[in-house]
């Protein structure tokens, strides 16, 4: 088990470097760079800048230097935010995204799991159909439509919560609900399907046959197997939380990492883009590893050698 974890942890490093390399390649393929903006620089200044950032050197020298710095976890300074290092920017903005992201995922788990379990237990009931139709609706409303509609109703018409800005718990409510909707919907569908499959399996029949109470059968036996699809969904979910948070951060004016990431791509702020991509890809891979490890606890049939 320990060997498995170590092996996977070590693989993350070359994988992340590969992702950074490909991202760098993608950025370099796109014509122009940070300095080829709307305002044309005087040739002398452009020459100086080109020299300062080593843009006059051949690409493999630039690439080598960049990778060498990245291996030492130094992503350099942002081009747009002069004098601020990429690491600084990431650590400043990540907590906002992490807060709404984690709260949203917890809310989604709470709603999705309970709705999914009840729907599976009362299959083909009104609750089953109702919650699954609601889940499908959650999957079908773009979050940049849902967010503003919630703002319209709860901020502009009812005056219950502030429409935007960061500060206080009340300002978190709408962004978290907006972000959670689609994940709650996915989780409800996955839980229902997983539970239905498990409830038909032999080991549940055995558990019932040996006289365990229905509560023990459900909570101790069925749930563990039934939520495996939800656990595997968590990896990709956290990955797509990035794209999700971009919208929510834009709609609710939250200074999170997603917004900074999109801006950095539009600004051609290469060090910042690469830093965020590296950070997120490592984060995603660590989460995927955690997911794989938790399978072993959930399903006794899965063992890692």
């Amino acid at each position: 088990m320990l060997k498995f974890i170590l092996k996977r942890l070590i693989i993350i490093i070359p994988m992340a470097l590969l992702v950074v390399t490909l991202t760098w390649g993608l950025i370099r393929i796109a014509p122009g760079n940070f300095y080829s903006g709307e305002k044309k620089l005087p040739p002398a200044i452009e020459a100086n800048i080109t020299k300062k950032y080593g843009l006059d050197k051949p690409w493999y020298v630039q690439y080598g230097k960049m990778m060498w710095n990245i291996v030492q976890l130094d992503f350099g300074d942002s081009l747009k935010y002069q004098g601020q290092s990429v690491n600084e920017i990431i650590w400043r903005h990540f907590p906002y995204s992490a807060t709404i992201g984690l709260l949203a995922y917890m809310l989604a788990l709470l709603i999705g799991l309970s709705a999914g379990i009840i729907a599976a237990l009362k299959q083909n009931s009104l609750f089953d159909y109702g919650s699954m139709a609601l889940a499908m609706l959650g999957l079908s409303i773009p979050n940049f439509v849902l967010g503003p509609i919630l703002v319209l109703v709860f901020s502009l018409w009812l005056f219950w919560v502030p429409p935007a800005r960061w500060g206080g718990i009340s300002s978190l409510i709408l962004p978290v609900i907006t972000l959670a909707a689609i994940y709650a919907a996915y989780i409800a569908r996955l839980t229902r399907a997983g539970m239905l499959e498990v409830l038909r399996s032999d080991y549940i029949r055995t558990a019932r046959a040996k006289g365990l109470s229905e509560k023990t059968v459900l909570l101790k036996h069925a749930l563990r197997g039934g939520i495996i699809p939800v656990v595997s969904f968590t990896g990709p979910a956290l990955a797509s939380l990035l794209a999700g948070t971009v919208v929510v951060e834009k709609v609710f004016a939250i200074p999170g990492l997603g917004k900074i990431f999109i801006e950095s791509v539009f600004n051609r702020d290469e060090p910042l883009t690469l830093g965020i991509v590296a950070f997120l890809s490592i984060l995603i891979m660590v989460f995927n590893l955690a997911v794989d490890i938790s399978y072993g606890f959930l399903d006794p049939r899965i063992r890692y050698e």
Binding site: M15, L18, V19, L22, T23, L26, I27, I29, A30, P31, Q123, A133, M136, L137, L139, S140, I141, P142, F144, V145, P148, I149, V151, L152, L156, R192, A193, L196, E197, R200, A239, L242, A243, V246, V247, K250, V251, F261, I262, V265, F266, T273, V277, L280, S281, I284, M285
Partner: protein
């Protein structure tokens, strides 16, 4: 000789699936909504033009200084900032949104199916390398890939063939951008399709019909594309139906960020994101395009779910 009517008629896979689909009320609902939606966006704009004398891009003469009118009999969905009928804009936008969904899915289908089938059939090291490439592309935020593709190929760098296709529809920078979107979105949505097809091919490639084909000297290319690919059609159709709404969502997201469909063209996503700016004053500008889009995605998702249950009873979600 048996009488014609005594012969038991076998049902084909497709007939069987069709009947199962018709039993699924929600899928039938989705199918009906989609048929209506397709008809509406096809014949709606010309009819509205005939009734009002305006294209979705024209600004009416009576729209004076207050240009955004709330919903009324004359404008069932109200008007946008410039006084244009929102119903006409939504129908016109629906053409582009649905086309983005279908064409991008088709692009992803071609790439994903050929990639997955090749990896699965060749197997071994080649398969391993090809699938690791898929894993790595998965790890790069797709939004970055789309933005780079749009950056690289927009303006002067538009490939000639995209230019050629778009000029046969009228041409111009706006149309070029739309065609570019079709291909860029297709090129980021093939990954899961490749995995699905590879899995199918892995389970098919050791069956007798493939061995027979190989024994009779059929080329590898023909085994993959003439023998294996047709047999993966069921899951491919199911997955493609579910790709359409997800591509449409991505397009809406890009339009929301301002890099999707550009004015004067519109999609549901770009209309909704224009509506967000005026949400406090003219909420109908967000609500109508948003609800139309949500209804369409809702129906497509139900249809996709129904197709999965119908075509692939084994993976049926009970």
């Amino acid at each position: 000789m048996a009488d014609e009517k005594d012969i038991v008629k076998g049902t084909s896979l497709w007939k069987d699936a069709w009947q199962r689909l018709l039993k699924n009320k929600l899928a039938v609902f989705g199918l009906i909504v989609m048929v209506i939606m397709v008809i509406a966006v096809t014949i709606g704009p010309p009819i509205l033009r005939w009734a009002t004398g305006l294209t979705p891009y024209d600004i009416p003469a009576d729209a004076d200084y207050i240009k955004a009118f709330p919903p009324s009999w004359q404008h069932p969905m109200g008007t946008d900032d410039a006084g244009r009928d929102l119903l006409a804009r939504v129908l016109q936008g629906g053409r582009i949104s649905l086309m983005v969904g279908v064409i991008s899915t088709f692009v992803s289908l071609i790439v994903g199916v050929s990639y997955g089938a090749t990896a699965g059939y060749l197997g071994g090291k080649i398969d391993n390398v090809m699938m690791r490439i898929v894993d790595i592309i998965y790890a790069i935020p797709y939004i970055l890939i789309v933005i780079v593709l749009l950056f690289v190929f927009s303006g002067e760098n538009t490939p000639n063939w995209i230019d050629a296709i778009s000029s046969s529809f009228g041409g111009g920078a706006g149309l070029n951008q739309i065609f570019l979107l079709f291909f860029s979105l297709g090129l980021v949505s093939w990954l899961t399709m490749a995995r699905v097809v590879r899995g199918q091919v892995l389970s098919l490639k050791n069956q007798e019909f493939v061995l027979a084909a190989r024994a009779t000297g059929v080329s590898t290319f023909n085994i993959i594309f003439k023998h294996l690919v047709p047999n993966t059609l069921g899951p491919v159709i199911v997955y493609a139906t579910l790709t359409i709404p997800s591509v449409m969502l991505t397009e809406a997201f890009l339009s929301f960020l301002g890099i999707g469909v550009q004015a004067p063209y519109a999609s549901w996503g770009s209309l909704a994101s224009e509506g967000i700016k005026n949400i406090a004053l003219f909420p109908w500008q967000l609500i109508f395009p948003g609800v139309t889009m949500a209804l369409t995605l809702f129906s497509l998702n139900f249809l996709g779910d129904g197709l999965r249950d119908a075509l692939d009873p084994q993976t049926r979600k009970f």
